[in-house]
Subunit: 475 residues, 4 copies
């Protein structure tokens, strides 16, 4: 319903010495990670050192037809990627995994995150004659690894040297002819965990992807850690571990991750429910029913209801048959477009004072419509509670929480926002309590709420997308 904030990716990798169908494992792993990226997806399979890759724009079940699955075949390891990219960045060309050939063989790479010094690194590489096929910062990582590989004894040494120069957010799975490697940046911005099934080792952005293939969760990859899997087993390079303070994205818990995932030791569902409880404490209200906006506001609504003692109710029915080819009504206004997919349950809200819990307000447009749907369905009062603080700063670490002029909280006071969305009252979770959503209360990046970034943002963020128009060439 929201389509306002997007995680930029989910990654998955599997190394199987015991004959698991690694391509199918990737398929189901990606399917479990689909919420992290619905624009394009891809799977690369390593069959005795030869890598077959298939990727395209679309959802997993659209891109990976039986024909596509048979085209990639199978092998002893594979990596996969689901991607969301901001509009206009050539989704087809930027689909991942990236597969490249170099002097030492072939390499495939999938990336979740965003670099902060990609522009500088790319310019330096281009001055050395490097060619780029995409506009994504992921290709910069690839080049840095391959450059380092020329003078490294192994691919993992090259990866380690890449980590010396690349700054920002990156959770990576990398496949060389004989090794599968998982890497998490020094801050641990984006999640990455490890599991096992039989003798196979699995990496995934979230633990729900391990569950989906029946794998057992082992542990999270540490910020700065490199984990290498090959025929000799699993080993870890911790040379970059601990040199930066852990700063994992708190908004993963609030919005991006799936509630059944456990990230860095904390359950996403519990974190969201706790957000609802805090909200009930911070912003109590006399009301008859608590409803959540499906699907992302449900968990916090349950938490609000439990804490407040106000009954939890099912306020909306979301049509679940939506597909890529659904025809949007052209003549209809934005309200009609929402109502086709989200219908209030009058019997629950009619004549009631309603607490409406949602996870965030970005521009405010959708919130205003949802409040209006409730009032049209007979709600006597609508009290909006948001399970995170207002967005006031852009995110540079792998999401599209964007420049201030598109964030309602940058330009309006709380009272103005309440009036814009038509609510009787409005409450956001405080920055203070956001830090208490997880069992561990430190080690988070909350820059989008506070402007306090764990590492310097890009110098020229506007150039960061590598999309230049007219070139200096050809004068």
């Amino acid at each position: 319903m929201k389509n306002e904030i997007h995680e930029e990716c989910g990654v998955f990798g599997i190394y199987s010495p015991d004959g698991i169908d690694v391509a199918s494992a990737c398929y189901y792993g990606l399917y479990a990670l689909q919420h992290r990226g619905q624009e394009s997806c891809g799977i690369a399979v390593n069959d005795k050192g030869v890598i077959h890759c298939y990727k395209n724009v679309g959802l997993v079940n659209e891109v990976f037809t039986k024909e596509a699955m048979s085209e990639i075949g199978t092998g002893c390891m594979a990596i996969a990627h689901a991607r969301y990219g901001t509009a206009g960045t050539y989704p087809r060309r930027n689909a991942q995994p990236l597969v490249v050939n170099h002097i030492k063989g072939t390499m495939a790479l999938a990336h979740n995150g965003a670099l902060t010094n990609a522009t500088e690194l790319r310019e330096k590489l281009e001055l050395g004659g490097s060619i780029f096929h995409t506009t994504s910062d992921t290709e910069v990582i690839t080049h840095e690894i391959i450059q380092a590989r020329l003078t490294s004894a192994s691919i993992e040494e090259a990866v380690s040297r890449m980590m010396d120069v690349v700054e920002g957010a990156y959770s990576l799975v990398i496949m060389s002819p004989k090794k599968l490697i998982a890497v998490r940046d020094k801050y641990g911005f984006r999640p990455l965990c490890m599991g096992t099934i039989g003798q196979s080792t699995v990496f995934a952005s979230e633990s729900c992807a391990l569950d989906s293939i029946g794998a057992t969760f082992v542990r999270d990859i540490k910020p700065g850690e490199i984990v290498i899997v090959d025929k000799n087993g699993v080993r870890s390079d911790e040379s970059h571990v601990g040199i930066r303070p852990k700063s994992s994205c708190v908004f993963e818990y609030i919005y991006f991750a799936r509630p059944d995932s456990v990230i860095d030791g904390s359950s996403v569902h519990i974190a969201r429910q706790r957000a609802g409880s805090f909200l009930a404490l911070e912003h109590p209200v006399h009301a008859d029913v608590v409803v959540g906006v499906p699907d992302s506001g449900i968990d916090a609504a349950v938490g609000y209801a439990r804490q407040s003692g106000i009954p939890y109710g099912i306020g909306f029915i979301k049509n679940k048959y939506i597909g890529r080819t659904f025809i949007q009504p052209v003549q209809a206004d934005r309200e009609d477009k929402v109502r086709i997919k989200l219908n209030p349950v009058s019997a629950v809200v009619s004549g009631k004072r309603v607490v409406l819990v949602d996870d965030s307000i970005v521009r405010g447009t959708t919130s205003a419509i949802i409040v209006k749907l409730l009032r049209d369905a007979g709600a006597a009062e609508v009290h909006v509670r948001i399970s995170c603080p207002p967005f006031t700063h852009p995110c540079y670490f792998g999401t599209d929480i964007d420049s201030c002029d598109r964030l309602i909280a940058c330009r309006h006071t709380l009272d103005e926002i309440r009036d814009i969305i038509g609510a009787d009252s409005l409450g956001f979770l405080s920055c203070e309590n956001v830090r208490h959503l997880c069992d561990n209360t430190t080690g988070f990046c909350d820059g989008c709420f506070t402007g306090d970034y764990p590492c310097p943002p890009p110098e020229h963020p506007e150039k960061n997308r590598f999309e230049r128009k007219i070139m200096e060439d050809d004068i």
Copy 2:
């Protein structure tokens, strides 16, 4: 998740004297009724007496591409149909609406329900030389109307005469060159309601389809009523009203209908929540959390939690990115197939005594897997509560609740079922309380629980599908 019981259809119709895009209205109406039939769908548009129809197997958003929408064009009225048909009954050939030409012009018809004397009527028609293009009983209705039309002054008179001979369940929308007609059988087995938007009149199986196009609910069609819409407005033929006791399907409230629909004056969501409350009263248990099986067990779970005071929790995350082309894991067992789409939230159930609320048990297979998923996720106890009585008799009125040998409750005691599904305790809603789910407490068909059918079942139900193998012809 369940895919065990299916409603056989949803119907929709619109008459627009004021230029609404009737084809688009059907598209969004069908989309809202998609839960009633996912096998095939179709739309027939009447453009100044010429009917253009497009139908195919698939979901609404798959069948109705932009090309298909432009093929049907637009006009001043239209009818639409979403269908589920039991396996093997030629889904492509049996897709609706049926469009036929006869001496007085053309007619389109969409049907929700099942006849009890179709075999006899069809045999009689065939002996008169009639030809059938489908294996559905809907075509029998068509023939009866057209036969009656030969000696009737109007199409509505022909419909009325059809009602004298056809027995069983039928909610129909019918389109002649100049009229739109809605009909509900004398018992009112299946729902059918009427709404308006501007000067247009709309009919739909459920009120949620009116909501989806912004129409206002006016009233339910009465059992036995014929409503006719043409350029002179809306009028009603009540000559068949009241001659049979109202016997609307109680399982619509428990399972088939969408919670945001209101049927015959009662909210489906409230009925389900009430079922949960009754369950808590009939089958109390000491437990820590109440969870529902998504999506159909959620409402009753909320009701159980409220009544019992045990906290409501979100026990499962359902993957919502499933599509028609999703590749089922071939090697996996049935448990894996369920887990790919439904993952328990360990943080909610681990170490807890769980009340698991679902809407029904048919064969028991899926229930057993879901109980096991909860135990694997750490649940200490699993108490299953079912928001309807056990199925003990087949349904002949438009659902596929089938012969006894496929119903677990026909062959096993309650204790056996509890053991088969692996629950610590098991409780079904009583037949007594099923009658109290709605505001009105009489007028329901609960034959699938009791064997008390409001009208005689078919004499030869096994012949009812018109699928004969080797024919007597050609000796």
Copy 3:
């Protein structure tokens, strides 16, 4: 290139007691008959009396994907149909084979031709309460057979009685639960032949379809003959043979049929080559090269060259990669559209006096463009020779040679046509010589050239398509 005249259908049928894959045989048979109908196609397979049918708009290789082939399965007999229907006649609904159920079982039917008394028969049937699902006259045949079947001892007797009342052109293949039947109307308007492969019996509109599956040609079906195949072998009912003069369509030889077919004992290619020879004798000219318009003018061009002694040349290259999804240039004029697909070979025609042979002129538009292409490529003179007489009358027997106002020869003299198409000279084959294209010189229908029809044309041809607009119903 031409797309101006269309045959309306090709039919195919196979009965295999020895395990041939009848569905595949139909596929390749249809593929060989594709030139007779490119709008829709279908295959119906009889598996022990149960008929599975799949049909859709599109070419054989588009409609029959692997999924579609697996949907129809296989059996011991099958029939198939490729169709061209005039614009606007609901191609999807009118696709064949028709499959119907009746009191004696099931029946599938495929039809090539057009009836002359369909309107009268249909009205009579409708007055008896019959319902029609299509707007094609084929359904009338179906009803007449089924009506007769009620009082006939066998399906073949019912077919025979249908032949007593149905008038016009029809080559049919019919499948009952246990029999395959081939029928050719009393005049033999459309071709139909029989072959064998192993113990299997095959029927096809043209012998080239027998060749394509490796079957051996046995004989043509006689005008008025009914051939029945079942487990007892092949037998013939000749009760309608010889009661009307044979009147097979001469334009099959000139345009419709494939050159490698042999129809009623005469080679199509030889007939066309002979047309070229007659043309050279009737309309000699001093020239340097004879070229044909691909593909249908090539055979006659070779004949003209041989007879005249003027060298034959390859004047045009036709792009063979055209597909259904080819995007027509929107901005371009009609000339550009032709040139994209048909390019003159300058080296052959530049500076030369060219004889351009084509098979027909309908409206003249395409001919004018082709003459211009030759002149632009440097042709010094262009002498157009047409291998049939001018069309002056509509055809009522299964082609779309239409009403006079769309036939250039109805409204213009020979000299005017020559000027309109921009030729230096123009010659048509005479009606006299058209009769000498085949080895047998009598027994042809040449009504489109002469207006002499072998049977009365329809009384109300304009009503013949069963497409009525506003109906009398509903007053």
Copy 4:
């Protein structure tokens, strides 16, 4: 029919200062060049310096749907490519045009030909840290240009410096932000010509592509020439012209090119017809009819007939409805597979002594089947005449005439080949006369017939495809 030898590519480019729809021009240009490559195709459009590219496996009309065309948009220049790649070389990844970003902007490149020192160049580049995304030698050209660009004043200077190091066959169209560049290697192996339409400049592999968009042929690009088009008009860099002897591929005239093309001043059709005439002089025979194998043997057959005085006949009908999705008969033998698509015309060959003209024999399998089809159709004698000399050496310059062990003429004598294909006599065109097919009689590469290559073949041809299996990495 043959599918035995493949040209590897066709290229197309257009620069339009006057608003031509360059994407559509590419579409029709590619469509005309489809015979040069049917595996994949692509179009890259330059919109004010930003290049949008769409490419995929499939034919032009399959890949470029309306959606794809709208995805690439339009601009002031565009290049396009149709590709055939030998099996297993990752058709999806190797599709062209290649689009890359570098320090000076962006560049798109399309290539017809094959390099002889690609392996050495690539290894050197990889040792410098270069990364390769494809396995095609085209990417080596790209890298060489970009490396040179770092120290060049302009893109054309960089192209010129690339020509100093790259050896082998290459006809290129290159697009920089502001320029369109066409390049032909120093030997002129592959054709490349220039035309104009309005103020726009067009480059194409063959002149038939100019015709298809209504452009006027201007001239061929000289071997070694670089033609640059930008806002200042068209200019030429001839610094590499004349430093090698012209050595254009003679097999373009015999087989690859379209008959309506004119290459380096000679008509392809006339060259083929001349080949037939020479054949008649070199290998006369008493016979009744001359037939050609469609489509590539037709022109030479006409030449043979003219020279010999034996009548030309149409011996085969080729089914033209073949599509990408056509289902090959699985059970059938190779002969059946041919017959489905190619049927002899019995009336032409039955009882006749037939001269069968074809353009080449590679492995001999298809020739043997075609001879058998003629005999089955009644041919009394079959005399095979081939319009080129026997293949005895591989081609390294952009075709897949392969290693000796797959060439029948490397392993068998003329008499043995005649017996293998079942002909009564067999004659090949002599190497001497191959040189006289065009107006100019020197400047050809006929290495595949003679082993005389104009430049040294690759040192390690077997490594030339860059497809290594297990890598040395990761020890």
